[in-house]
C-alpha cells in the first residue's frame, strides 16, 4: 500500500515549533509513519518526497526480514540447511543487531525462537509452509536449546564482501526477527532523513526520533485498556548537536490466542520456550535508539514487574513506563524528566 504524505496537523504544544510533513502507510503488519520536521513551510514539499521515499525503503526492508513470506530473505535463510548459508546484506545487518541485543539483555532477546513462536500461535495446526524444513527435531532440538542457553551462541555470522555474510548455526536454529527487525528498520530509516532538522519514524509503535534544536517531538504511550487513551506523554527536545531517541512498546495484550492450555501471547521467554508468564502487560522504554528501546521493552515484559524494574534501573536507557497486571503504571525514576 502506498502511503499518503501531507503536512502534519498544527503543533499541539509550545515545545513543537517546526512544521511537519508526514507520510502514513501500512507495513510490517501495522502502521508506518514517517514524520519530518522542516525549517519552514518552503521545505515541506521536499520533506514529503523524502518521507515517501523512506517509507518505500522501509517496506522493502520489511519484505526481506519478515517471517510471513516464504520468499523473504529471512525465510529463505531459515530453509537453507547448508553448513554455511549465504546471507544478504540487509538480513546480515539485522542479524548482527540481534546478536548484540541477545548479549545486551542476557539472552532474553533471542531471534531464534521461530518454532516457539509458531507453537504459541498454534490455535490451529501450524502452517507448515512457514516452518523450517527440519522442524521435526523434537527433543534433540529442545536439548540443544537448553545447552545453548548455558554455553555458547547457537549461530554466528562470518563477514563476506559487500556487507553480506555466511551464517554458521547449530542444527535446528531458525530465526524470527519480529520486533528486533522493527526497531532496527526504524533506526535505519531515520538515518536516511539526516538532511532535515528533525525526523521521526514510527515502525508500528517502535519509534526512532531525532529532534531539532528548539523543537521537540511529543509521543504518547498508548493505554491498551482504553482505545485512544494515553498512559503518559513523552516530550523529547532537541539539542545543539541533535538529539536522538528511541521509543518502543512491547506487551502481551494485543497478540493473544486461546490455546488448549489457556491463553497465550507472542512474547516467548527463551528460558522456558513458552509464552512468558509475566505480570507486566505493557512496557515502554525510552533509549538512545529504537532498536535498543525495543530490546529493553521486550525484556521488561518477559522478566516480570519486579525483575524488570530492577534491570531497567541499571540498563543504559533514558526511561521506562510499565503497566502492571494489577493496573498500576510505574516508571523508573529517571523517566520523569521526559514526561509532559
Amino acid at each position: 500500500m502506498i502511503g499518503a504524505t501531507a503536512p502534519a496537523a498544527a503543533p499541539t504544544s509550545p515545545a513543537v515549533t517546526l512544521p511537519r510533513a508526514v507520510n502514513r502507510s501500512r507495513a510490517m503488519g501495522g502502521r508506518l509513519g514517517v514524520h519530518v520536521a522542516v525549517a519552514d513551510d518552503a521545505a515541506l514539499a521536499a520533506a514529503e518526497l523524502d518521507a515517501a521515499h523512506v517509507a518505500a525503503r522501509v517496506r522493502a526492508w520489511a519484505g526481506r526480514l519478515t517471517r510471513h513470506d516464504a520468499a523473504s530473505d529471512l525465510m529463505r535463510t531459515n530453509a537453507d540447511l547448508r553448513g554455511a548459508a549465504p546471507v544478504r546484506p540487509t538480513l546480515a545487518a539485522a542479524l548482527r543487531w540481534a546478536a548484540v541485543a541477545t548479549e545486551l539483555t542476557g539472552g532474553i532477546v533471542d531471534a531464534t525462537l521461530l518454532r516457539e513462536r509458531l507453537a504459541a500461535e498454534a490455535t490451529t495446526p501450524v502452517d507448515k509452509s512457514m516452518m523450517p524444513a527440519d522442524a521435526a527435531l523434537g527433543p534433540s532440538y529442545v536439548s540443544a536449546r537448553a545447552s545453548r542457553l548455558a554455553s555458547r551462541p547457537a549461530w554466528r555470522l562470518e563477514a563476506v564482501r559487500h556487507g553480506g555474510a555466511l551464517l554458521h548455526r547449530d542444527p535446528g536454529v531458525a530465526f524470527d526477527l519480529d520486533g528486533v527487525a522493527k526497531g532496527w528498520i526504524a533506526d535505519r530509516a531515520l538515518a536516511l532523513l539526516d538532511r532535515h532538522p528533525g525526523a521521526l519514524v514510527d515502525a508500528d509503535g517502535d519509534l526512532a526520533i531525532r529532534s531539532a534544536e528548539g523543537d521537540a517531538w511529543e509521543v504518547g504511550v498508548a493505554d491498551p485498556r482504553t482505545p485512544g487513551a494515553e498512559l503518559a506523554v513523552f516530550v523529547l527536545p532537541g539539542a545543539t548537536l541533535g538529539a536522538r531517541y528511541g521509543l518502543a512498546t512491547s506487551g502481551i495484550s494485543v497478540h493473544r490466542w486461546a490455546g488448549p492450555d489457556g491463553e497465550r501471547h507472542h512474547l516467548i521467554d527463551p528460558r522456558t520456550g513458552r509464552a512468558a508468564a509475566t505480570d507486566v502487560v505493557q512496557a515502554t522504554v525510552l533509549a538512545g535508539s529504537a532498536r535498543a528501546a525495543e530490546a529493553w521493552a521486550k525484556t521488561a515484559v518477559v522478566l516480570g514487574l519486579v525483575a524488570a524494574l530492577d534491570v531497567l534501573d541499571r540498563a543504559p536507557i533514558l526511561g521506562a513506563i510499565l503497566l502492571a497486571a494489577d493496573g498500576r503504571v510505574l516508571a523508573v525514576p529517571r523517566t520523569t524528566r521526559w514526561l509532559a
Binding site: 499541539t12 522493527k182 509503535g205 504518547g220 482505545p227 494515553e230 503518559a232 506523554v233 513523552f234 524494574l309
Partner: protein
C-alpha cells in the same frame, strides 16, 4: 577464649623448632622451664657456654595465631559493615512482593506515573506528581505492535 596447649613435652616438636640443633658439642637444652644447662661451680672447669636464652616458640606461635585470627575477624567485620549501608541506602522504593520473595529482597526503584495508585506494602514507593491532564492526545503514539491506532 582460652587457648590450651598440650602440656606433655614432645621432643620431636622441640627438635623441629628452628634454631641450634642439639649436638654432642653443645649442651642439650633442658626441658625444665627456667633452667639452662648445669649450675656453675666456682673453681670448677668452666662449663660450656650456655646457649642464648630463646623465648618459648609456642608462645610466639600462639601470639601470631591470635593476631591472625583477630586480623581476619576485623576484615570480615569491616566487609560486613560496608555492605549493610549499601543495601539499605538503595532500599528506598521497593515493592512488597520483592521484599517478601526471599531473605535478600530485590531492590527496585520506581515512581508512579498516574495519580490515585495505592502504595505497596510499607509505603516504600516514591510517588511523584503525575503529569497534568492533557487536553489533546499526542500526535504520535507508541504502542504494542499490531495495536489499532
Amino acid at each position: 577464649m582460652s587457648i590450651r596447649t598440650d602440656p606433655t613435652a614432645r621432643p620431636a616438636a622441640v627438635a623441629a623448632v628452628p634454631g641450634p640443633a642439639a649436638s654432642p658439642q653443645r649442651p642439650a637444652r633442658s626441658l625444665t622451664p627456667g633452667v639452662l644447662g648445669a649450675p656453675s661451680v666456682p673453681g670448677a672447669r668452666p662449663a660450656a657456654r650456655p646457649a642464648p636464652r630463646r623465648p618459648d616458640p609456642t608462645i610466639t606461635r600462639l601470639a601470631v595465631a591470635a593476631g591472625g585470627i583477630a586480623t581476619i575477624s576485623a576484615l570480615l567485620a569491616a566487609i560486613a559493615s560496608a555492605a549493610v549501608p549499601a543495601a539499605t541506602a538503595a532500599a528506598a522504593p521497593t515493592t512488597g512482593s520483592a521484599a517478601a520473595s526471599g531473605p535478600i529482597p530485590t531492590i527496585v526503584k520506581y515512581v508512579y506515573v498516574q495519580p490515585g495508585q495505592a502504595t505497596p506494602s510499607a509505603g516504600l514507593a516514591t510517588v511523584v506528581a503525575p503529569p497534568a491532564p492533557r487536553t489533546m492526545p499526542a500526535p504520535v503514539v507508541t504502542s504494542q505492535s499490531g495495536a489499532k491506532p
